[in-house]
Amino acid sequence: MSSLVDIRSRFDTAALLAGGILLCVVIAVFSTAFEPDRTVFDTPRLALGFGFLAILGVRYSLGFARHMAGDVALGVVAALSAWMLIPVVHQHVGEAASGFWALAVAYWLASWLFVERMAAWKLTNPSLTRAVNLAIPIVFGITLLVLWELAAKGFGIPKVLLPAPSEIWVRLTGSVPILWADFQQTFLKAVLIGYALGCGSAFLTAIAIDRVPFLRRGLLPIGNLVSALPIIGVAPIMVMWFGFDWPSKAAVVIIMTFFPMLVNTVSGLAAADAMQKDLMRTYASNYWQTLIKLRLPMAMPFIFNALKINSTLALIGAIVAEFFGTPIVGMGFRISTEVGRMNVDMVWAEIAIAALAGSLFYGIVALLERAVTFWHPSIRGSRG
């Protein structure tokens, strides 16, 4: 769609990036890489890697290897360069000078160019296109991680402020039992139980008030309002009522997930159009038959929308509720106490687990949605 109005930019981004890579490599060659006086040539492999990177970067402007293989070579060399750069900076923590930063920028520009080239690939095979579309954000993410690592080590940022990804990884793999216990406490107990009860009760409530138009008109505006309120604030009350263990967290999750589910299910049940309802009427179909055969399938896209929103809300609710008091286990508990002890790498490890759990949870709900509402235009369309 956008290609229709794409008016070609006056300058070519790819050429600009390639020029940038070349410039950075040249700067790196002629300046100090690490204090006090190490140059890039003290690490020949590195110099070689970045030399190749510069050549591959400018090959388009120079007019050779203008094909996908050249692009892939660029990506591979960029990855190799990063792989060589990281151990070097680990040996010289906090001693990075202009030459090193020029190399880091060169890597960054090279990855950018690689992503730019990948985005421009025209593939005929649909599954290959899907793979590339998946690879682009992954390459982007890895680039960010590498730059984070280089910056954290190069500047010698203290661990309490921002640990490097490698340190977080070491901490993560080193404290699996603690992380597993926290995950069990927070995710498997509070989140999943609260999510199931909250969404389930909201669904049943929605079906009940759907039979009474009066309640529907009265509750829907209130439900919409409550969805915008900072419900997370009920956490201290729930902790007071239900104690420190997981039931109070599950209660917070129930309350947080209830209203989005209620509002969405009620609107979903109203989604069947007049003609479809008339059709059921001509069959003299009773209330339950219409509900099961027409209105619930019709409401499924709405219900799954709420299930997806709630998958995120549930995790947030459980973690934040733990800030108000827990037994000595749980992701939120760990985050708040380790922050207090300045063990920031442990906090990041916990956040990484939370992110992974949240994404997986969301992903599973999204997969279920594709299976159940396969007929919906939004999903049908994306399958081609």
């Binding site: 003609m275 008339d278 059709l279 009427r281 003299a284 055969k293 027409l294 396969f374």
Partner: protein, 276 residues
């Protein structure tokens, strides 16, 4: 006790002709809206006999769809009386006495074509064997055999509408109510479906009530054409067609056909001028 003359009257009635399938007597329907009452239907008198193919034709807003919906018990009249198969429309609906085809196919996208045709049968609580028998028979009747496992969105508009007709026929009603079923289709598909519908009617001898705003369609299909006009919605003319029951598309070129079409057009014009 009945008197002798009453019995004689009754016998005479019974011998003269069978009870009409639909008997509408002095029927009116007024919608209350914010801008005041709208007289959708006013003083409708109409009898539809078994085996008739009746078309309601008229400009938009003349109440032809509303009249069909009254027959189907989708709207309630505010005055007058109506019987379907000798009972109230509601009783007829509860007895699943008719099949209804809407303007759009209204197939459920999450069901396959076969499952869509099975929908009314599931609601009626028929056995699985009976369902399968009826699905096969009616899919064949509308020439959709082989598409059972497809989803509606994988079929063309004309095929979707045929599937919705199969779904209406699967109820095996004696009465078929059709509300501009081919209105959204292009002319070539529409001609084709019109021919198929006529063959179907000839094969099954069902009573059909058909709403349209196309004059050629009404004349080509019908044994009886009811011309309605708006504000208030009322019957302007009822034309008994003398065309033979067996028709092909060529009949549209004959003087007989053109004469009826002309009368329908005159009726529509006269009804329309009323509002100015």
């Amino acid at each position: 006790m009945l008197t002798a003359s009453e019995i004689e009257d009754g016998l005479e009635d019974a011998m003269r002709k069978p009870d009409p399938v639909i008997d509408i007597d002095n029927l009116s329907l007024t919608f209350e809206t914010n801008d005041g009452p709208v007289h959708a239907l006013s003083d409708i008198d109409l009898k539809i006999e078994e085996g008739d193919f009746v078309s309601f034709i008229g400009p938009s807003g003349c109440g032809k769809t509303t009249l069909l919906r009254v027959i189907a018990d989708l709207e309630q009249p505010t005055a007058g009386s109506i019987t379907v198969n000798g009972v109230s429309p509601e009783a007829a609906r509860l007895a699943r006495a008719y099949g209804y085809v809407f303007q759009a196919a209204a197939l459920y996208p999450w069901r396959t074509i076969a499952k869509n045709v099975a929908l009314p049968l599931e609601i009626m609580g028929l056995s699985r064997d009976e369902q399968n028998r009826r699905i096969a028979r009616n899919m064949e009747l509308v020439n959709l055999s082989g598409f059972e496992k497809k989803f509606p969105w994988q079929l063309s508009g004309g095929m979707q509408q045929r599937a919705s007709i199969a779904r209406a026929l699967a109820v095996e009603p004696d009465l078929l109510l059709m509300d501009e079923p081919f209105g959204a289709l292009d002319e070539i598909v529409r001609d084709h479906l019109n021919e198929q519908l006529l063959q179907l009617w000839a094969k099954t001898n069902k009573t059909v009530v058909f709403v349209t705003h196309s004059i050629p369609e009404a004349v080509f299909l019908s044994s009886k054409i009811v011309v309605l006009c708006p504000r208030p919605g009322r019957i302007y003319d009822v034309i008994e067609s003398d065309l033979p029951r067996e028709r092909t598309l060529d009949i549209r070129e004959t003087p007989q056909f053109l004469k009826i079409a002309h009368r329908v057009r005159e009726g529509l014009k006269a009804g329309h001028s009323y509002e100015d």
